[in-house]
Subunit: 368 residues, 2 copies
Amino acid sequence: MKDKGNAPQETSHDGAISSKSRRTTLQDVASEAGVSFSAVSKVIRGASGVSPEMRSKVTAAIEKLGYRPHAGARAMRGKSFTIGVVLVELTSPFQPEVVQGISDELETSPYQEIIVAAGIAPERQQRAVEALIDRQVDGLILIAPWTTAEWLEDIAAKIPTVVVARHGGARNFDTVVDDDYEGARLMVDHLVGLGHRRIVHTSMPSGGLTRPFVLSHTARLDGYEQAMKRHGLEPEVIVTSYSEKGGYQAALQALAGTPRPTAIFAGADVAALGVLRAAEEQGLMVPEDLTVTGYDNIYVSTIGRISLTTVDQSGQLTGANSAKLLLERINGRETPKNYVVAPRLIPRATSGPPATATLQSQAELSST
Amino acid sequence: MKDKGNAPQETSHDGAISSKSRRTTLQDVASEAGVSFSAVSKVIRGASGVSPEMRSKVTAAIEKLGYRPHAGARAMRGKSFTIGVVLVELTSPFQPEVVQGISDELETSPYQEIIVAAGIAPERQQRAVEALIDRQVDGLILIAPWTTAEWLEDIAAKIPTVVVARHGGARNFDTVVDDDYEGARLMVDHLVGLGHRRIVHTSMPSGGLTRPFVLSHTARLDGYEQAMKRHGLEPEVIVTSYSEKGGYQAALQALAGTPRPTAIFAGADVAALGVLRAAEEQGLMVPEDLTVTGYDNIYVSTIGRISLTTVDQSGQLTGANSAKLLLERINGRETPKNYVVAPRLIPRATSGPPATATLQSQAELSST
DNA sequence: GAATCGGCGTGCAACGTTGTCCATGAAAAG
DNA sequence: CTTTTCATGGACAACGTTGCACGCCGATTC
């Protein structure tokens, strides 16, 4: 394997090769196999018009030299085999689960994902998408984008796109959503079934989006309100943010009301954690004095100390499905598909019948 | 702006343009500005030999056409302005914080990060790195890689690299590590200061790595053992994994010992959560009957219901610093740098003096 | 006033692929 | 035995950049 002496490394002017050795290219493989480089390209692309011997010779050479195609060069002509994924925050508990589902699904495909955490601001999200398009991604998966519907349609007209956690369907892209409406109903039914009547819901600003093109939290809000009305109960909503702090603030506000609610249904598990803190501070026992529930079934909710009653929507499944839809779309499908993930109620330790059931119903009666 | 009739869209054979309009290129900008495309390239690259008028004309044209450079084409000749980041798991609580730090740092640079979750298996991590190299990343940040030191040096010889959370320094790459050794000492001192003498530590397998080239958890283990010995105490280590389940199992094992330990110092917060669950199941009050502490100061540890005593190592800072080091290296620095993040003890509600202090010391005396 | 210099703009050859078009030769059909 | 067909492999022109080499021209120097 020594190549000393009479094998001049190509007569280039480039005297000082920068120690970092050159990458093996199609050309290298071609000369190793003793064929033309177009033939090698054909083998790699699985194009027709290749004899079996040809194929095996080339495959052997590729193996021997450890050849790997240059993504940049590929991107110049056609596909880059790269998928762009945009999410809001990596350190938030739910969205990374979706990404993990995407990663796992793409693991067996030739595609590689690029992940960008773009925050909540629409402008920054748009810049992130543009940066991905510069990198010639073959497709986009946008998780809970806060941009306008028109902008999304424009982007999707240019490049195969799947949007996650956004309701309302679309013309040019596929969607994967949890049935948030149904999930909220499940939770309200659970709480009402336990005997609760004053149930407060915490939500987030709608971000200027209009129905039916809304993000998950708005659909949950709608589901909550409808379910409450169906039970003949008065909805009560407090709008803060989906964060521990937002939940804490919402809880303080809710608990100051008279009569005090017996249950707080936070729109997200993170917010429910804040509600728990507020309850603790006010000396309320959960679930004896106050039932607290969330949505998302994030990891923290499962651990013993928290054991939060919540709704599961399988981030993994959501991610895997969006990756599947995107690959279909890259392979030519044009008609939009909308995949709906069925939510599942997970009753745990933070929900129970209201201890003050009799007292409460008296208050209800006198106030009606 | 209508271009009907006598503006033939270039005399190409390509009749059916696939609706998705062509991207604007250097050439387009050049004709808009009435200059050569090399001139435009110079302006973009900030090369010398450009007159002010030239620059403004070109900048205007770029602005007008909304030109954005094609990353693939750039990657063919030189830089791709892309950084590859490899981590173990996106859904783990600590590593995404590091990535967030990297993202924030790169936000103001022309570089864009590609994130890959590669799992714990060295082979899969290696494949991930190769996929990134195929994409011509200009640099790599590897978070807690389980690969051999030789392999890392080989990669780093080819491409600027920063390794996070791996001790021992290196020839060809920079490292950013928390001073895990010191952090473990802080925790042991804290516990001993409270009066504990039987302190169990939970760790993870070393993954076949040999000192001094070890991952964080091994350094924590070393720090724990040294500190215990300095206090004249007997170290007791249980090896499982850094997960809720791993912590649970370790705790069961530890609590079965006689005399029972009064404190369990888990090597990671996630594991400490499992310890808490085990304690709860056995009817032990924390911290009255058992002190539980962790390491990493993940988000969950901060919330009221958990309020875990732990050691903070600022993932954000770690990430930001590794990005800075990588950019320096991309700009030509060759001499390796090792950045050490100072750990900080965060005492919270899960640690306190052992209730059975007298009893405990009797047991100690009789067993010695 | 001629020679030299340096600033500025242009031309052009890569870079590593893809996919179309073309030449070759063997097998099948007449 | 000649013509057509078809499978196979090779040549080659893009793709959108970068960065070097060159040529022009006005200004400085002797």
